[in-house]
Structures are given as C-alpha cells and as structure tokens.
C-alpha cells in the first residue's frame, strides 16, 4: 500500500474510532457507575440517526438534525432509566442486561416499522461537502470534522469530569456508591443524568456518523458489539483509556478490513481475546 492511501486509511480509522468513542464513553460510564451493561445503547445510536435524518429531510438543516438526534437519544435514555432500570437496580445483574436487550429489540422493530428496512444515506452538510488534499490525494472534509468533533467531545467530558462539581460527584459515585450517598449525594439523580448523557452522546453520534456509516436496520447491533469490545479491551474507569482504546479499535477494524478483507471484523475480537489472556481487567482498567 502506498503511503497516501495508507494515511487516508489511518485517518478513516481515527474517524471511526471517534464515532466509537461517542458510543463507548456513555456505555463505559454506565457500566462503571451502575454496573449495567446497556445493550440498548446501540439502538439509541441508530434511532438518533434516523430521527436526525427525518428532521433533516423536513427542515433541510443538518444542525437541526444533530440537535434532534441527540435529543432523541437523551429522551430514550431518560425513559429507559426512569421506567425500567429503576425497577431492577439491586437485583441480580441479569435482569437489567436482559431488559436492555429486550428494549433494543423493541427499538429495532420500531425503527423498522417507521423507517423501513431500506438502507439510507445521509449527505454531509453543504458547508463540509468538500475535500482537502492530503499527501496528494483528496480526503473528505467531513471525516476530518468527525475527528475534530470527537476531540472536542472528549475535551468537554474530561473537563466535566475533572473540573466540575457534577463531575466530581459522578466520580465519587463510581468509586464508592454508599459513601457518596452517605455524603448526601443524590445517587438516583446522578444515575439518571449519566444515563441521559450517555444516550445523548449516542444519539448525537448516530446522526453525526450517518454520512460515514449510513443508516440501516442492524446498525444498532453492529455498533453495540464494537462498543462492548471497547469496554472489555479498555477496561472501565478511565476516560482517556476509553478514547485510546476506541482509536485503537477503530484503526484495527479499518486497517483489518483493508489488509485482510476475508477476516473482516475478526481482528477486533482477536484483540479482545488476547487482552483477556494478558490483562483481564482491560488495558486501562483498575483491578478489584
């Protein structure tokens, strides 16, 4: 492979990794804070994309589409937490996992009903519908924009986590729930907020990513699998670790598909198996 092509693929991998990050950050936070594996997270992503698309078609505004997609995600997250997850906190873990699984089935069929099974493609917004020359070859500006957006979201989350009171509260909750409650922190409210934030990011990512990934039924399953792989490989408890892992996985998947097409998504899961052999708590995870 010549250098310009390789470089373009690397950029693709990073862009994909950023999209993964939008999804995995929320998932990882929910898992770390509440011990919940939210299998519906991929559905938030997909529905956010579809809602954004509908709004885009109605208003011709990409930005409104983004807002709608993100809002749809947040709403779904809120409803999930408020009406379903609350009932099963503290029970055996499998109830919550299966509930979210059931929810993802419902959302998937619901999407099929509303938007049919025909795959949809979203055009990048006019102001980004161009390419830059990188190493002699044209590269779509939109993908570069994704990378920038991802970096901004990471910076925002990092600032939120490290520098604000809310962030400290969430961190306290992740470290020691009982202690945090004892200190008067309203854990249920924190849970709801975290859920909404994670789902917001997912919905946002679903629409923002649609010019690259497209929208089709089954997208939710594809992305949740990748996000789960990220959580295993990266471990939980570190935002930076999550980002790094996402970029790593994005690169492995993209480069893997290019270099060994017959093995497709196998590369990512082999990484998972290897990490499990060597460091079960994840590359950036904390033991115990």
């Amino acid at each position: 492979m010549e250098l310009p092509v390789a470089f373009a693929q690397i950029l693709n991998g990073i862009a994909f990794g950023m999209l993964l990050f939008l999804l995995a950050a929320g998932l990882s936070l929910m898992f770390g804070l509440m011990g919940i594996v939210n299998l519906a997270h991929g559905a938030y992503f997909m529905v956010g994309g579809y809602v954004g698309l509908t709004v885009l078609e109605a208003t011709d505004s990409f930005l409104l589409g983004i807002a709608a997609g993100a809002a749809a995600g947040a709403l779904l997250g809120f409803l999930t937490e408020r009406f379903f997850m609350r009932r099963v906190y503290g029970l055996h873990g499998h109830e919550s996992i299966l509930l979210t699984f059931a929810l993802s089935l419902i959302l998937s069929d619901f999407s099929l009903f509303l938007w049919t099974g025909t795959p949809r493609w979203v055009q990048a917004p006019p102001f980004l519908d161009m390419s830059f020359r990188i190493l002699g070859n044209p590269y779509p500006a939109y993908r570069l924009a994704i990378i920038v957006i991802g970096a901004i979201v990471f910076a925002g989350l990092y600032w939120f986590q490290e520098r604000t009171l809310w962030g400290a509260t969430v961190r306290a909750g992740v470290d020691d729930k009982e202690m945090a409650t004892g200190l008067g922190i309203n854990i249920p409210l924190v849970f709801t907020m975290v859920f909404c934030l994670g789902a917001f990011l997912a919905g946002f990512g679903g629409f923002v990513g649609s010019p690259i990934l497209g929208l089709h039924i089954g997208l939710d399953i594809e992305v949740i699998m990748l996000a789960l792989a990220v959580v295993i490989v990266g471990g939980i408890g570190s935002l930076t670790g999550c980002l790094v892992t996402c970029l790593l996985m994005g690169l492995s998947d993209t480069l893997g598909k290019v270099l060994w097409p017959s093995y497709a998504s196998l590369t990512i899961y082999l990484v998972v198996v290897i990490v499990l052999l060597v460091k079960p708590e994840g590359l950036f995870g904390k033991r115990g």
Binding site: R87, V88, H94, L99, D109, V231, I232, Y263, A264, L276
Partner: protein, 321 residues
Amino acid sequence: MERASYGWKSILAAVIFAAIVLAVPLLPDYAVTLATSIVIYSVYVTSANLLTGYTGLVSLGQGMFWGSAAYVVAILTTRGLVTNVYLIGLICLVTVLVLSAFFGALALRVKRLYFMIVTFAFGHVVWCIAMYPMQSITYGYDGIKDIARPSLAPSLSTTSSAGFYYFVVAVAAICFCGMRFLINSPFGHALVGIRDNEHRMTALGYNTFLYKYISYMLSAVFSGVAGALFAYFNGYVNPAELHWLWSGDALMIMFIGGVGSFWGPLWGSLAYTGLRYWISSYTMYWFGIEGIIFICVVLFFRGGIAGFVSGLQARLTWQKR
C-alpha cells in the same frame, strides 16, 4: 431447591404428562413439528438455566455451542463423511467440550459482570470464523442445506415427523434426567451456593472456579445436544445459529419460563414457540413484541411462568414456605 415428593398426586401428574407427550403425533403434522421445536428449544434453554439460573453466570455465548454442534452435524452429514448418528453425536460432544474448555478458562478469569460481555465476544469470534475463514466449509451466509434425518438403527429411520419427534423426546428426556440428578446432587447444591454467595463459598473451602468451569462445560454440552438435534430437525443450518442474538433469546425464554426452576425452560419454550407462531402470522415485528412480553414478565411476573404456576399451586393448597 426442588424437593422430590412421590405422593400419588405427583405420580398421576407424571403419568398425565407422559401421556400428553407421547400422544402428540396424533395431532396434525404442523403441530408435531411445532412440538418438536419446543422440545429442542427446552433442552437449549436448560443449558442457559444451568449456567445462569443455577450458577448465576450470565452468558451470551450459548449460541456458540448450539451453532457449532449444528454445523458439525450439517458438515458431516451433507458431505457424507460420517453417517453413523451416534458417532456424529460423539464428535459434536468432543467439539463442544473442547470449545468450552478453551473459552471457559478465559472467560471465567474476569469478574462476573464482564463475563457476559466476554462470552458474547467469544461467541462472535466463532461466528466470524464460521463466516469468513471457514467459508469454504460452512458456505457463509448461504448456510448448509439438505441435512438428512438420521437413522438410529438399520430399520429405524426418523424421516417421518412422528419418528423424529420420538427421537427428540428420547434425547431430551435423557438430558432432563441428567439435569435432575445434577440439581439434586451435592455438586448442584454447591452451584446454587456459588450463585447466591460466592464469597462465602470460597471461605467455606470450595474451589469456586472449578465448579463454575465444570458448570460452563456441562451447559455447553446441553446446548450442543440441542443444536445437533436442531440441525437434523431443520434440515438447514446458517450463521444465525451462531449469532449472539440467539443466546440472548435463550436467556429471555429462560426468564419467561422461570429462572432457576427446573421446568422453566419447558414452559418458556412452550410460550415462546406458541406466541411466535401465532403472532408471526399477524405481523412481522415478532422481535419487538417478544421484547415487550419479556419486559412485562420481568416487571410484573418475576418468577416467570413457573413462578406463577407454583404461586397458583400454593394458593390452591394453602401451603406456606
């Protein structure tokens, strides 16, 4: 824990149950086919019940064993490599044990909450392998078709729906008996202890890793048996049998039937198959509806059907636990 009581009521119930089971082939063909699938699913869900209901490990990887065994049957029969059904069964068993020994040793290294994600990842790895590198053998998305029904003895073939039904029932009966022995044994007792308080179990001197490992492998065997039966039943095997969504379905069916209850898998399979058959004739959105049903069960009928039934039983006989 289940208690065996051999009063006349139980014997009567058992006789009636056996009669119903044996009389199924009197019904029209489509009903026999449905019943066969119910029995096969109940063996599959029993494997999930053993691992999740009794040992407390939630796995999204059961589909891997069901699918692998199904493919072994498909490949061996369609290519005429092995024709003896008992030998095929043995090969399936070995395949499933090797897979579970390998994946189990890795998956059990992680904390319980991670276990689910890890088993799902493993299941997906196997799916990917079947789809891509092994495509020449498995035919990828197209799947393998025209799997012939086995013949159990020179004059005993199972091509008729009744014949195959009895074959499946016989195998399932053996599995359920095995499960029964297991649950009532000291080993089974220890599994439930591990489910409810693993910390105390290690303090008491139990090597909980070994117990969980064995349970994982045994549950893989049940899945494999069901998967092999399915390959013969369906005549066609494709990658969906290896997909983790099917593992998720197993958990949901188990839940609907009643987690950790011996007959839960049968109740669940009955409900699932019946509902799916009925609802699918009206709409194509079966999965969404399955999700809704499941959520209702979790929120309102926590013990599943089995729990509901024993609640009824208790109220009818004024028993107190």
